[in-house]
Symmetry: C2
Subunit: 386 residues, 2 copies
DNA sequence: GGTCGATTCTTTCGCCTCAAAAGTAAGTGC
DNA sequence: GCACTTACTTTTGAGGCGAAAGAATCGACC
């Protein structure tokens, strides 16, 4: 049982699809799997047998509650052994490293944060190795490491460009691999979060899915048919040229009236500071706006309008089945969600399908979890993806 | 040879994929097909044999010119017998029906137009049957009819809503089928044009593709993985709420400053008429603008700016590999293409991939050809698509 | 002009996967 | 206890696929 979870890799295509379906779809009976994968019952028996024998899947007693009482032979749901392996995810910011340990299902089972005192690549790799060693004491069955970085990442191994770390072409995956002897995946943070949501979150099972993050900057990620669409400007900063209102505010970052100007946390703080002379935090500004303080209220109102227009444009042109709003800047939705929705509707055809807009207040551990999902994907898919 | 092109339908999945690849990809050797479809050479021999025996494919002598001189056994390109079947496509406008006959490759081999004197459904069906009968004299091997209509079409058979014909829930396909004994597909005109471009035109082989049409109204169609994304507001008129410039012109159709206001032919004519008191044609307005006449020039300049912004938004959010600009209103690109491109770049990230923007001046026969492609698809795919 | 190598296509063979159908298991309803 | 329903398993046969060897047809080279 313990050592038997042999390598996940030597799976046939059919077996892998079954494994993934169970992994992301929760416990599923063979009949349900047959329905989802368009296979005959007989095939399901054939495909699941080796997976169960290898310990990758187990038959779970019952779906939690007795569920609905049905006639006939009760189904025998299959589930992955979520705790059979652990995965580590890190999110690197300018001054902190946030770490999590997750199960195969990407549930967070531990957290570990450390201040980042150096931007020297070797120093960062050392820190990550130390943190990993510490986590490995409690979770000996670590199967991989995922690292999320703001910036441009190539081949899921090399940080090609990261302004806030001042990195260029740093082979971070190799640096950490040689210190930990674990497979390492590096990816842009928004991309990582997107993959996590695509596999285990809001985007599960959808054909067209968008993730829009608001924080220090904007992030945009389009998922089509389960695959993230790569794009050149990826995380050299989206939205600096998405001009929402040509007469909008002029801010240090982004073109006048751009989505970056009007929505990112630094620029909202800048606008309020420029008007009041005081440097409030983002949360304070939201509170002031909610309380009716004129200037913050106007800035937030304009931000909400900008977000509504932005979401409407995304919905109009990319036509996703769902849009996930994430990041630290989604507090805007709590204070001015109505304005966002209203503006969005004004910029949509009245007969258009309502936008399935989901808001997820995410902290840095959610970003780290996103990175861990990459490690899960690598184990399951065998590192073979674009 | 003549009667042998048995039914296209009883094909295995593998055979069908080969047939479609040859159909849309031109003459292809077995080796090339094996490469594209990820099959072994042996499989190709197996799959092509019955297709050749049934007369659907033929071995063509050589690729036109002797091509490159290579060592080894020369390849034996396969091609469909494009003239083995003919297809009819109609585009219905308020006062005309435009008809074409195409080959299996969707090349137009004949045209036939007739004034539409009635909007009575039976009368329209009668006219289509008459035209079909006339075309059938020259092209006896008609295999299907495609009809493109502006408006909302359901199940490719029923015109659910067509304002300009004042139709509601008209089973046009059935009406024409019973008069012609041919399979009939009805589809929204933009959708038909999009399918044609996806199979045989600019969108061939692309994973993400957008068609934007400018004419009496706007049309928008997103193709992902070879499939058009269906959408609710489909052809109840796109773009009335795509607000490009809140301070833009107020026109009879569309919200103030919307894409419809600023780009469609009737609204451009309206703007110029409101300013000059004369009712110029679209082409005259373009000429006046090019000659420097202030008011038309300003209207066209604003239209170009609007188009640039619109295309940039599409590129930013839907990230297509190519955008096709079609319709009768693309003359704008000839006069003010630079302005469009310039504005587009201003609204894109400087590092973003350049937008592959293609302009296609299309007349009504191109729309009819699009409808004919639907008939081709039905024959090839067996009417099985969403 | 004969041989060699390159390239394309064909043939043969065995493996793998799948679906169909029949059989088994395990519950509910009466 | 009996019929019925649903879930799963086993068996069997067909079909598609790739690997590998062979045949065809060209250019290159001596």
């Amino acid at each position: 049982m313990t050592a038997a979870v042999a390598d996940w890799l030597p799976l046939s295509a059919g077996e892998r699809s079954v494994a993934i379906e169970v992994l992301v779809g929760g416990p599923l009976s063979r009949t349900e799997l047959a329905r989802r994968l368009n296979l005959s019952p007989g095939s399901l028996t054939r495909l699941t047998k080796p997976l169960i024998e290898s310990g990758l899947l187990v038959e779970v007693p019952e779906a939690g509650a007795p569920a609905e009482v049905r006639q006939g032979r009760p189904s025998q749901p299959l589930d992955v052994v979520a705790e059979s392996r652990s995965f580590v995810g890190y999110k690197i910011t300018a001054d902190m490293v946030y770490g999590v340990v997750t199960t195969l299902r990407s549930d967070i089972v531990a957290r570990l944060d450390r201040p980042l005192t150096t931007h020297d690549p070797a120093g960062v790799a050392d820190l990550l190795a130390e943190m990993t060693a510490e986590l490995a004491r409690d979770f000996p069955r670590l199967a991989g490491i995922g690292i999320g970085v703001g910036g441009l990442v190539q081949d899921r191994t090399v940080v090609a460009e990261s302004p806030f770390l001042n990195w260029r072409d740093i082979p971070l995956a190799a640096l950490v691999e040689e210190r930990t002897d674990l497979p390492v995946v590096v990816e842009n943070d928004v991309a990582a979060l997107t993959e996590a949501e695509t596999w285990f979150g809001s985007g599960r099972g959808l054909d067209r899915f968008v993730v829009l993050t608001i924080g220090a900057g904007l992030g945009y990620s389009l998922v089509l048919g389960g695959r993230r669409v790569p794009c050149d400007e990826e995380d050299r900063g989206f939205g600096r040229h998405w001009i929402i209102d040509p007469h909008g505010p002029l801010t240090p970052d982004g073109a006048r009236g751009s989505a970056v100007s009007m929505l990112t946390i630094p620029n909202i703080r800048y606008q309020v500071q420029a008007g009041t002379g005081r440097d409030w935090t983002y949360e304070e500004i939201l509170r002031l706006a909610a309380a009716g303080d004129p200037l913050p209220a106007r800035v937030i109102d304009e931000a909400a309008r900008a977000l509504g227009i932005l979401v409407a444009q995304i919905a109009n042109f990319a036509m996703p089945q769902r849009i996930l709003l994430a990041g630290e800047g989604v507090g805007l939705m709590d204070v001015a969600g109505d304005k966002v929705t209203q503006t969005m509707c004004d910029h949509r055809h009245p007969l258009a399908a309502p936008v399935d807009l989901e808001t997820r207040m995410s902290d840095f551990h959610d970003w780290a979890r996103g990175a861990a999902v990459l490690a899960i994907q690598v184990l399951v898919l065998g590192a073979a993806e674009a």
